[in-house]
Amino acid sequence: MGMQQKKEKESFSYQFPDGDRRLAFSRQPSFLYPSPSPSPSPNPLMQRSHSFTRSDSKDSTSILLMLAALRAVANGSRPIKRLALMISLNVAYSMIELLFGLFTGRVGLVSDAFHLTFGCGILTFSLFAMAMSRRKPDETYTYGYKRLEVLAAFTNALFLLFLSFSLAVEALHAFMQDESEHKHYLIVSAVTNLLVNLLGVWFFRSYARVNIVYWKPEDMNYHSVCLHVLADSIRSAGLILASWFLTLGVENAEVLCLGIVSVAVFMLVLPLFKATGSILLQISPSNIHPSAFNKCSRQIAALEEVLEVSQARFWELVPGYSVGSVSIKVKNGVNEDQILQHVNGLYNDLGIQDLTVQIDYM
């Protein structure tokens, strides 16, 4: 797994301001402190340092948190800045649309503005997750803040699922009601929406695929943002297409277009939803086949000192970092150092970075 992580991905020119973070999850003695503290024994297990310091700055108030997030955005990597730009564009646009709709009394504009605002809220959460994910683990969040990115990706995927359902409901509504003229004055707003979203797709263009293998947690977040703007642009394109078909005189154009868009968004978002959901549900790491785990347990049980291997449980914290625990029964009087090293080595080769081994003596 360590070798695979160093494999080059598709060529995107993102800069990593603080070193190549793709190596951040490769084999390290400690998740908390990347540089091992000096210790007399050369045993890699013993290089794990003491428990987390309590002197970490804990910004408990939300204002300080916001300021910290803003600071992180300003100094952040390029994707963060681009996302911030996109969000501010969207917010400005939706504000204008809302005010315009209120003053001229057009309901369609107001509903579009609301929908855009919801989307912006979700994107802001993604941004917040990106900014927060670099904080060091502290006392309450012993595994760090990387999970937040997976959560943000899940929220995005959920929002997109809701979007596809609501588009399907709208299509049904249009089918039953047969009023097909109210989309005409939304053309301008749809075109602007489409342009803004296409800009977003261009920013995240390397993630514009449906099935992606996730190497880092940021991958999931970026992928979800890209899918979000992609789905929005598909929706705007669908609306424009529907009005054009209506002017051409095609019957039920709206129903068709909305239906197609709804199905497309659903298919687009389903793999991401499944992947993020399976991480949040503590499913076994998806990049490791279950038979590999079985093979490892058998290898451990084949050692002559080992009586039984039980309760081998593994889960994925973020894509690229897996945690596990296993319980081993050994005969009395055996040197546990050797066994620990052996077991750790076995599972490290699979890709489990953080393993806790409990040795029970019989």
């Binding site: 794990r48 107001v110 509903s111 609301f114 785990f293 953080d354 040795i359």
Partner: protein, 426 residues
Amino acid sequence: MERKNSPASASPSQVIEVNIDIDPDADPPTIPPITNPSPTGDSKACRGGTCDLSYTKDSHERFASMRKLIIAVVLCIIFMTVEVIGGIKANSLAILTDAAHLLSDVAAFMISLFSLWAAGWEATPRQSYGFFRIEILGALVSIQMIWLLAGILVYEAIVRLIHDNGEVKGFLMFAVSAFGLVVNIVMAVLLGHDHGHSHSHGHGHEHGHGHGHSHEHGHGHSHEHGHGHDHSDEHGHAHGHEHEHDHDHDANTMTTYFHHDHHHNKDVKEQLIKKEKKKSKRNVNVHSAYLHVLGDSIQSIGVMIGGAIIWYKPEWKIIDLICTLIFSVIVLFTTIKMLRNILEVLMESTPREIDATQLEKGLCTMDGVVAVHELHIWAITVGKVLLACHVTIAPDADADVILDQVIGYIKRDFNISHVTIQIERQ
């Protein structure tokens, strides 16, 4: 876990009454349990593959919650059909909109029901911790739906404001939202009522409280004083001693100590029968459905007030929007606490009820233990906590004994049942 028999439970007709007045502000007395150091080491390891992560012991609570939700769903569907028929007959959009709100309630209940049911699935090798996380994800989806609905309601209020040409009938708004409010209150009572009448063993009260979060794990459950006991279902322990109460329901009274505040007094004499333990913590899915219904009733109140004002003075239409905004914000505030809990579980953070510093200090003060590092405490779902850490011991210490001590300490004082300790020698 296994039952430890002691001579005190030999005679079933013994009546033992233990009354202790506990000062609510002091720490509860820690009484060392009567453990049976077994040479086979099965006090440390769990038997079987999935141990107590397979939820069979909590099935009573689960079935009770499911029953409540099913009743709520059926009620909802009945009310919804009534409203739909009435709305079509009266040809009013407002009633149909309210029926759509009830439909969203049904959807939320379905999600909660599914989460409850799915949480009972047996653990598989791919899903080695069981399916408990589905509860949390289901609750997250429910809460997102609440937010979505609040947004939709605000949008509708704005639409009503724009189409201000007499289409707003204050009286109709008032009547429809009043009906919706009654329905929601009935369901809130049904879902929020946590007293133990629904348990099949018919034991005494269990007191639900208004938050989906309990401080119970550290200190608050009943202590075993030698004879009187309780059988703590939620973490799969079988502490102790059990009396057979076939004939006499009042055989065993005990004064227990509640951590959370409550309209009863602090020292409450409980009647324990057989194996039931009071659960003062509501299931997270039932709680999220309850929040959904509560949010709906708050919004119905808001719409009612707006409708009454418009009915009284039809020119103050903007009151409707203001009311809706205020009440939507109130609804969002009720969900924040639960959302924070959910987020904490999903982020694998240390649960609030466990004091990690104290645990670490306690571990370090044990003899033989040099240091503790890589301490991770996280929760699968709101009730189930797991711990993993590395303990460095002195080179000459006995690893087995220290392992026993450490695990016993953690299980006793912090009630964490799933513990994995890696012992390293210095």
